[in-house]
């Protein structure tokens, strides 16, 4: 045994164990999340939801997964053979990979060896997460293209445009957090959010009311307080990245049958499904990690290593629930509205917010400049809110159509 350990190295073995644990955990979590989504949406629609397999229907997803193994998996004659076969793999694998950089808990000591509860703490964690999100687009685009059928083609092309549009907003929304933390490593970013906000004076010197100051001493030092615009942009584009309602245009059932996976059946369909749900879990986990203090939370003497994991899972669950809730509540956006939101609102908003964060975080910048920036920002938001809906000004009227249309 020790011979093997010496040959491969304990680091490699620990890495392998972490990977296996994370992989199995993700699979189990997906089973539960799919079940939970069906149950919650059923509840919101006054239905019962799955209730046949296992207690409260908990094993329903497993049963469905098993069933899909036994379902015929055929390939349309017009499909491109290998691309069609491998697109589901390309959609699923990056979703798993993205999870690798999310820290799940504090360091634990097992057999005298300190192990950090993250699959791997690479120093470009945030960038890596974005890269894996981009790779996931390939699976969907290739699936749509390779099916050789009109609905998947439309779904695939749409999803490319949608995902690359929202990817910019997603990438830009994380820059302010990185700027504030000064690191791309998710472990570092979580470490920055330890403790509470503490003693607060606004703009280096304006004192705060004693009662308010007390509140701040108990408030956890999460990035959400200072970076909530970044979080809003991140979460909206995160939903669009995962192709979930209200941004599920690529598979819009009512117009595109099932979009990019219309021609997929059996186990290959299951893979798209798995990839989507893991992506939801990963986006939720990253939102928690970057904006909500990651695994930080009150610890107790009883099983001290367990509490960080519990807090992390609870926080992540809240966001997964939010995803489900949104799906049950929001109608799907029209495609041009979707692109409008991404290109004309989220991207400029993210750019402005980056510059604001930069000004505020500049070392040694004077208090007056900070006050001026916040004042300008406040005025800008107020004007923005009260300017009315610009879309109402240029609705396409029949009159305008005729001036251009008849050739």
């Amino acid at each position: 045994m020790s011979g093997i350990v010496d040959a491969i190295g304990i680091v490699v073995i620990i890495g392998a164990i972490k990977v296996i644990v994370a992989f199995v955990a993700l699979l189990v979590v997906t089973l539960v999340v799919v079940w939970a989504e069906r149950k919650i949406i059923a509840d919101m629609q006054s239905r019962v939801g799955p209730n046949r397999w296992g207690p409260f229907g908990l094993l329903q997803t497993l049963a469905d997964g098993m069933k899909l193994f036994f379902k015929e998996d055929f390939r349309p004659a017009s499909a491109d053979r290998w691309t069609y076969a491998l697109a589901p793999v390309a959609a699923m694998v990056p979703a798993f990979l993205a999870f690798a950089v999310v820290p799940l808990g504090d360091d634990v000591t097992i057999a005298g060896r300190e192990i950090d509860l993250v699959v791997t703490d690479i120093n470009i964690g945030v960038l890596y997460f974005l890269a894996m999100g981009s790779l996931g687009v390939y699976g969907i685009v290739l699936a749509g293209w390779a099916s050789g059928s009109k609905f998947p083609l439309l779904g695939g092309v749409r999803s490319t445009a949608q995902m690359i549009s929202y990817e910019i907003a997603l990438g830009l929304s994380l820059v302010p957090v990185v700027l504030a933390a000064g690191s791309l490593s998710m472990v570092d970013i979580v470490a920055q959010q330890a403790d509470t906000v503490g003693n607060v004076t606004f703009f280096d010197g304006i004192p705060v009311l004693e009662q308010v100051a007390d509140l701040f001493r108990y408030m956890p030092n999460w990035y959400i307080w200072s970076q909530w615009p970044a979080f809003a942009i991140f979460f909206i584009s995160g939903i669009a990245e995962t192709n979930r309602a209200p941004f599920d245009l690529p598979e819009a059932e009512t117009e595109l049958i099932a979009g990019f996976h219309t021609e997929y059946s059996g186990i290959r369909f299951a893979m798209f499904f798995l990839g989507e749900y893991i992506h939801v879990v990963v986006i939720s986990a990253v939102a928690v990690t970057l904006f909500f203090g990651g695994w930080h939370g009150p610890g107790f003497d009883f099983l001290p290593w367990l509490w960080p994991l519990v807090w992390f899972m609870l926080k992540t669950t809240v966001f997964v629930y939010l995803f489900v809730w949104l799906r049950a509540t929001m109608p799907r956006l029209r495609y041009d509205r979707l692109m409008w939101l991404g290109w004309k609102r989220l991207i400029p908003a993210a750019l402005v917010w980056i510059m604001v964060t930069a000004v505020v975080n500049t070392p040694g910048i004077s208090r007056n400049i900070r006050l001026a920036v916040f004042g300008a920002l406040f005025l800008g938001v107020v004007t923005w809110v009260f300017r009315g809906d610009p879309r109402m000004k240029d609705i396409v009227t029949p009159q305008r159509r005729t001036t251009r249309g008849v050739a």
Binding site: V12, G15, A16, V19, F23, L68, F69, K71, E72, D73, F74, R75, P76, A77, S78, P88, V89, V93, L97, A100, V119, T120, N123, V126, Y128, S147, G148, S149, K150, L153, T160, A161, S165, I168, G171, V175, V178, L179, G182, L184, I257, T262, G266, I267, A270, M271, D336, M339, W343, I347, P348, L351, I354, M355, A358, V359, N361, T362, I365, R404
Partner: protein, 121 residues
């Protein structure tokens, strides 16, 4: 770059690919395979497909979005190292990035003005 840091990612890649390929192989053994010509037609809500769409054309709008994406994505890539090193750059970094983003916003405004971001005319 610290190689052991990236090793688990490689493991995860291998494991998830094996899982995917393995389950596809298992499914191919477990599932029936009764292909008929009707079943292999591309799906069109039960109609006989009008035409083959493989390699068909699609609106040029998507092409424009792809071009814009490349420009803005490279910008994002520039922003990350700047953000990490911001503490050391200070005011100089702020001014530099201000100029960079201003140039980019000018191009962005131009695209907006010319209707490059419009989907419905």
């Amino acid at each position: 770059m610290n190689t052991p840091d990236y090793l688990p990612i490689l493991f995860l890649l291998v494991l998830s690919t094996l899982f995917a390929v393995g389950s596809m192989l298992a499914a191919s053994k477990l599932s029936p395979r009764r292909w008929t010509s009707a079943k292999l037609q591309s799906y069109e809500s039960g109609m006989v497909p009008e035409k083959d769409v493989a390699g068909d054309r699609f609106p040029v709008k998507f092409y424009l979005v792809a071009m814009l994406f490349i420009i803005f994505d490279i910008e994002t890539a520039f922003l990350y190292p700047w953000a990490v090193a911001y503490d050391e750059l200070g005011l100089f970094g702020l001014a530099e990035m201000g100029v960079f983003i201003a140039i980019l916003l000018a191009a962005y405004a131009y695209v907006w003005k010319r209707g490059g971001l419009e989907w419905v005319e």
